[in-house]
């Protein structure tokens, strides 16, 4: 019904007007049923968001085949690391090389300016997903 993972979760729908409605109205998430204080962590939040969306759509949910968006955060990387950006073009590196660089920045074994700060914003799993998106064989290619 719903897939999760590095590609996020997707919903297919048989409702032709679904695209014209807000899928996750703020009011649903601001519901008194669950206060922000009770909700910490992306996983639980995702589940609630998905539930809100299901309530809004009220049609069977299926994974959308073929969709392959960039991993969360990857698009922002391209602000500096896109083609011709003057900084290392990540498309020329392998996912393993990018993943190793991010791990080095994160644990302090690799020096840098902004990257030691930014790398701490991503888990090892998220970093791997970004590396796969932006590296030589990734979805951004």
């Amino acid at each position: 019904m719903c897939v999760t993972g590095r590609r996020g979760f997707f919903v297919g729908t048989t409702d032709p007007d679904a695209a014209n409605r807000p899928l996750r109205p703020a009011a649903a998430r601001a519901s008194k049923l669950v206060s922000p204080e009770e909700v910490r962590g992306a996983r639980l939040r995702s589940v609630i968001r998905a539930a809100s969306a299901m309530a809004a759509i009220a049609v069977p949910l299926v994974p959308a085949a073929g969709a392959d968006p960039l991993a969360p955060g990857a698009a922002s990387c391209l602000a500096c690391h896109g083609e011709g950006g003057g900084l290392p073009d990540l498309a020329t590196l392998s996912p393993d090389e990018i993943e190793a660089a991010l791990a080095g920045y994160r644990d302090g074994t690799r020096a840098g300016t902004v990257m030691p700060r930014l790398a701490k914003g991503f888990s090892a799993e998220e970093s791997r997903a970004i590396a796969e998106s932006l590296g030589r064989t990734g979805a951004a290619r």
Binding site: G8, L23, V62, P63, A65, L78, V114
Partner: protein, 418 residues
């Protein structure tokens, strides 16, 4: 549509339908983007790359970037070096309409243009930047800005301030006033003061720049203040709120500014006024009591009007600052969300990055950086990811960050306007 279509299958063939077709009778989604700056151009080009037809509404035929505009003000580069046309955007497949927005009808899903036409949309992205609150400082209105520049929207205002500083005699006083948060580019006023001080030190050494600030603390403060002590002990003075930095009134005819600290009669006066979301956002009911636009942190869809997304400076983006880099990151996320929503999918949980470089001198740069994620109904900083350049970095690291800032800018301009 049938369950589980591929994105390619869904999007292919949908872009040929005419803009005149009635909204529900057509299959191809129509996306309109308002504003041709960092956010608007990025979201328009990203949507086109996803196979979605986009009409971009922007009154100006050229765009001057706020990033690097302080270097123009300080005589380090010409305005032409930060001014770009939209030919590259057009070549990328975006339909450009050079007109002003007269109004937005969120229920009828139409954008009315000043020229009389209107554009129907399935999803609208508003990336209209800021509005200047000319009503908040007595004596400083739109007419006053013709002689006392704000230069907080780049272009003619940037050139005006640059000319005034260049024409000023050695020994003249420059006063720059800074509002309380939130405003576009939190460290921008301090970079501007720094580069003006650099210009004065090298070209008009008996002159000085005074910052009248409505705050007691500011972005990158320890880095700026260390640079000021080292570089501009005689050329820059910061007057915080607690020492009378709040502007009380401006007299445009006399070119004076009154603050708690006293009455100043500078040779050059630069008033950066308080800001809000632009008028068109307020007229469309996209703003709340704060006069900025509340949005969903995952899709950047307005909390007030479904079908309309707001990105960049006009949006309330939680912990993210109002910066060009943030607008770019938000535009990428918003484009993905709009594509998902048009295909009937839930947008994935985003992560966003902001990096902002500032110059204290041409080869003396430093940065603030952060990673952001959605926490309930707002964007929050991922713990540990945010921070400033180190206080004790050697000169070569400052020079390296100055070069990185230039590299970011050059690459960004190629992406946006190339």
């Amino acid at each position: 549509m049938s369950a589980g279509p591929t994105r390619r299958g869904l999007l292919t063939g949908l872009t040929a339908a005419s803009l005149a077709a009635p909204a529900m009778a057509r299959a191809a989604p129509r996306v309109v983007v308002v504003g041709g700056g960092f956010g608007g151009v990025t979201v328009a080009r990203a949507l086109v790359r996803n196979g979605i037809a986009v009409t971009l509404v922007e009154p100006a035929t050229e765009y001057a970037t706020c990033p690097s505009s302080n270097a123009v003000i300080a005589g380090l580069m010409p305005l032409s070096a930060i001014t770009f046309g939209y030919d590259g955007v057009r070549r990328a497949g975006v339909t450009l309409v050079h007109d002003s927005v007269a109004g937005i009808d969120p229920v009828g899903r139409r954008v009315r243009l000043a020229g009389g036409d209107s554009l129907a949309y399935d999803r609208l992205v508003v990336a209209a930047g800021i509005g200047l609150s000319f009503d908040t400082i007595p004596g400083y209105d739109a007419a006053a800005a013709a002689t006392i520049p704000h230069a907080w929207k780049a272009g003619a205002q940037t050139a005006l301030l640059a000319r005034q500083i260049e024409a000023m005699e050695n020994g003249g006083l420059v006063v720059l006033t800074v509002p309380a948060l939130p405003y576009r580019c939190p460290p921008g006023p301090y970079e501007r003061a720094s580069l003006i001080a650099h210009y004065l030190k090298t070209r008009k050494p008996r002159s000085k720049v005074v910052i009248l600030d409505a705050k007691d603390s500011f972005s990158k403060q320890p880095l700026f203040q260390a640079a000021w002590r080292a570089l501009y002990p005689d050329h820059l003075e910061w007057v915080p709120l607690g020492q009378g930095g709040q502007v009380e009134a401006v007299d445009a005819a006399a070119r004076t500014v009154r603050a708690g600290a006293g009455l100043f009669r500078p040779a050059v006066l630069n008033v950066i006024p308080p800001q809000t979301a632009p008028t068109l956002c307020r007229a469309a009911g996209l703003t709340n009591a704060s006069r900025w636009c509340p949005v969903d942190p995952v899709s950047f869809e307005s909390s007030l009007h479904p079908g309309i997304h707001v990105i960049g400076d006009a949006a309330i983006a939680g912990a993210m600052p109002k910066s060009a880099f943030a607008a770019y990151s938000q535009a990428q996320v918003c484009a993905g969300a709009v594509a998902s929503l048009l295909a009937g999918r839930i947008p994935p949980e985003p992560k966003l990055i902001n990096v902002c470089y500032s110059l204290a001198a041409p080869d003396y740069g430093f940065s603030i950086a952060g990673v952001y994620g959605a926490e309930w109904d707002r964007l929050v900083t991922v713990p540990g990811s945010d921070g400033l350049s180190p206080d004790d970095a050697p000169p070569e690291v400052r020079a390296r960050e100055a070069a990185l800032g230039r590299a970011w800018y050059d690459g960004m301009m190629r992406q946006l306007f190339g």
